[in-house]
């Protein structure tokens, strides 16, 4: 695990000049992941904010071989790249030891990309899949995804007179990935850069498919001051809304236990998408969410050693 000053000696592989929003969580995630990988690396991106904002012809922010083909298929596309790598390496046409990374937003990972994600994981291609999870379709204008938390306001799960935002709970994708029997699954946040860098370093050592779900605050879609991006990601951990854990070859390990578990409302308070939950009439909803967060937290604890 390198110190910050050691990391600073590494070449930036995700460089300045990209057009993500000021304070974008995905930009930090991409930069951290790329700094963590001190090896030759090939990256693929699913269609989404990160892809659109980092490669606008003729400008690219990726100082490594990079490919985008479509929205729902980054895992399949990198499957092909990784397979070609194995084929050509076997033939002696390639000498370098390379790492393969796929980035997808929650839309391209939890929803439309779930099939290709599952297929690539099941086949065990050697790649690290990073979901930069901003909990909605931000690139197309903040529509709900299956990663969107219950009651969050999005443009397709709007808060209205009779419906208080998204009706459903978010999908537990890390668990689905664990069920694939892949060697490494983890959650992380950009606000704990050591945690994220450590997990990326760990993941790329496995000879197989690995997956990290990184909560990636979106100042636009969540509605907060951009300077709070990292803080808000940490608060998700402190409220146990986004526990930090990893599952190494099936074994659960909690990476961080808040000294004092904060109430979920502390997280909601900072975000415009949950503003309606602070109204007195919505108190039962708050309670319901708190209960579910508690339940998921306990469930996770029971799985961890």
């Amino acid at each position: 695990m390198p110190s910050l000053k050691q990391l600073a000696k590494r070449e930036e592989k995700f460089v300045s000049g990209h057009r993500l929003c000021p304070g974008c969580g995905a930009g930090i995630v991409a930069r951290l992941v790329m700094l963590a990988i001190d090896k030759p690396v090939v990256v693929g991106c699913a269609t989404g904010c990160l892809e659109v904002a980092s490669t606008i012809f003729p400008y690219s922010s990726w100082k490594i071989p990079w490919i985008h083909s479509a929205f729902e298929n980054v895992a399949a596309t990198i499957s092909g790249v990784e397979t070609a790598y194995r084929a050509l390496k076997k033939q002696g046409k390639i000498s370098k030891d390379a790492v393969f990374v796929a980035f997808g937003g929650d839309g391209g990972t939890y929803d439309i990309g779930l099939q290709s994600l599952s297929g690539a994981a099941e086949r065990g291609h050697r790649m690290l899949y990073i979901c930069y999870d901003n909990q909605a379709y931000m690139n197309t204008g903040i529509q709900r995804s299956s990663a969107t938390p219950k009651c969050a306001h999005t443009t397709t799960s709007p808060v209205g007179k009779v419906i208080p935002g998204k009706k459903q709970w978010s999908k537990n994708l890390p668990e689905i990935m664990v069920a694939h029997g892949i060697p490494y699954v983890a959650t992380s946040i950009p606000g704990r850069w050591m945690d994220l860098i450590n997990k990326v370093e760990k993941a790329i050592k496995f000879d197989g498919f690995t997956f990290i779900d990184v909560l990636s605050p979106c100042r636009l879609g969540w509605g907060y001051e951009p300077s709070l991006t990292l803080e808000i990601s940490r608060l998700a951990v402190e409220t146990c809304i986004w526990p930090l854990y990893e599952v190494i070859e099936g074994k659960y390990k909690l990476n961080y236990r808040p000294k004092e578990k904060k109430p979920v409302v502390e997280w909601f308070k900072l975000q415009r998408r949950f503003r309606h939950l602070l109204k007195p009439e919505n108190e039962p909803l708050l309670e319901e969410i708190q209960k579910e967060v508690d339940r998921r937290w306990e469930e996770l604890l029971s799985k961890c050693e």
Binding site: P65, I67, S79, T83, A84, Q115
Partner: protein, 399 residues
């Protein structure tokens, strides 16, 4: 017969698989679908038996098959796949991407009707629907052509002036599951004919050389059009390259190929335009009608994309009546998909033939010699009377 080929019995699916074995691509990614399934079944046995160096990826859908082929091809690997019908439809999005990223992927397509109603038998609605995806399309009359076309496809796709994906099609069941006599080339002949793929910019080369490239960037109003213009030019270049390679193939192995085949068309007064296995049946009919003194002929389209516009125009220009046989319906109230292309070819002629369309064989409906003879009779009647009483006829459907 030139070459050292040997005569064997193969179905089109077997021929596809054998050609793939001889091409020995670096990566094959595929998903099963009737009637193309056998191709990858046979091929995965070749992989299991160590007869090829290929890395085979049994993907979870056709969309991922094409995506993986794109990933492999952009990494400098020779990539192939095969599919049919719904599988091709599921790939649709990726077809355009493979072509626009200029990837020489080779795909064996076994023509099958599109749902609904669900049907596993032959028509051309699947590939004709993909006509504007930027893929070169080569249709095969029989198993021999299926085999020869795949081998030529590698050279066409990888030609530096072209660099476009190629789909080689064969008629579902009619050819895919029909054992026919073919001449196979030896493995060495194929290897020598296709050669090593020319090296171009690719992901892994850029990794190896530390000169990172970005592929598939967002192209907005200021660049998209230029990239599409390049793609159009590549397709135009294919018009030059395809007959050159067809000729070279003929010189080496005794079977030459062009854009299309003219059968007794030169002195004909009426002719049909046809694609795929029906062309063979059509030739038998032409011979029979010729015996009766009828001046009939046939033009079999082999290359539908790029569309050999000028050449077809010239080949049909002297006819009085042209009948287009469409094995797909445009469901557009006036014709199948091949018809408007042929009309467009003829439009600028000083003296235009009359032209009518026949939609036939949907969902594998058999097309008999009598049916084709009936079509010719209809064309001869138009030639005789100078009157066209219909623009479109459905052949072989219960009225």
């Amino acid at each position: 017969m030139k070459g050292t080929g040997r005569r064997v019995a193969k179905t089109a699916n077997e021929a596809f698989a054998e050609a793939m074995r001889q091409i020995d691509p670096d990566v094959v990614a595929a998903y099963p679908i009737t009637p193309a399934t056998e191709i990858v079944q046979i091929f995965s046995q070749f992989v299991a038996d160590g007869l090829v160096k290929t890395e085979f990826v049994a993907v979870e859908s056709e969309h991922s098959a094409m995506s993986a082929c794109i990933g492999a091809s952009i990494s400098g690997a020779r990539a192939m796949t095969g599919t049919s019908s719904q599988g091709l439809a599921l790939m649709w999005e990726m077809l355009y991407i493979a072509a626009a990223l200029r990837l020489p992927i080779i795909m064996a397509v076994v023509n099958r009707a599109l749902s609904a109603p669900i049907n596993i038998h032959c028509d051309h609605s699947d590939t004709l629907g993909a006509r504007d995806s930027g893929w070169i399309q080569i249709y095969s009359e029989n198993v021999q052509e299926t085999y020869d076309n795949v081998i030529q496809a590698v050279r066409i796709a990888e030609h530096p002036d072209v660099r476009l994906p190629v789909m080689v099609t064969t008629d579902g069941f009619i050819l895919s599951h029909c054992l026919e006599t073919i001449e196979m080339l030896t493995d060495e002949e194929v290897k020598e004919f296709i050669g090593e793929p020319p090296v171009r910019e690719n992901l892994l080369k850029s990794l190896e050389e530390n000169k990172p490239i970005t592929i598939g960037a967002l192209d907005l109003q200021d660049y998209y059009f230029e990239h599409k213009r390049q793609e159009a030019e590549a397709m135009k270049n294919a018009l030059k390259v395809i007959p050159e390679i067809g000729k070279e193939f003929g010189e080496k192995f005794g079977r030459s190929y062009g854009f299309f085949e003219e059968y007794k068309l030169e002195d004909a007064t009426v002719g049909i335009v046809v694609m795929g296995s029906t062309a063979g049946t059509g030739k038998d009919v032409v011979d029979e009608l010729r015996k009766e003194g009828k001046k009939v002929g046939l033009l079999k389209i082999r290359v539908f994309r790029p569309f050999p516009f000028e050449e077809i125009s010239k080949a049909l220009s002297h006819l009085q009546v042209v009948g287009v046989m469409d094995r797909a319906d445009g469901v557009n109230s006036y014709s199948g998909p091949v018809f408007p292309e042929i009309c467009a070819c003829l439009y600028d002629l000083e003296k235009r033939p009359k032209i009518v369309d026949f939609i036939y064989g949907l969902g594998g409906r058999d097309i008999r010699k009598e049916d084709i003879a009936g079509i010719f009779d209809g064309l001869l009647k138009i030639a005789e009377t100078g009157k066209k009483e219909f623009n479109l006829k459905y052949i072989g459907v219960r009225e």
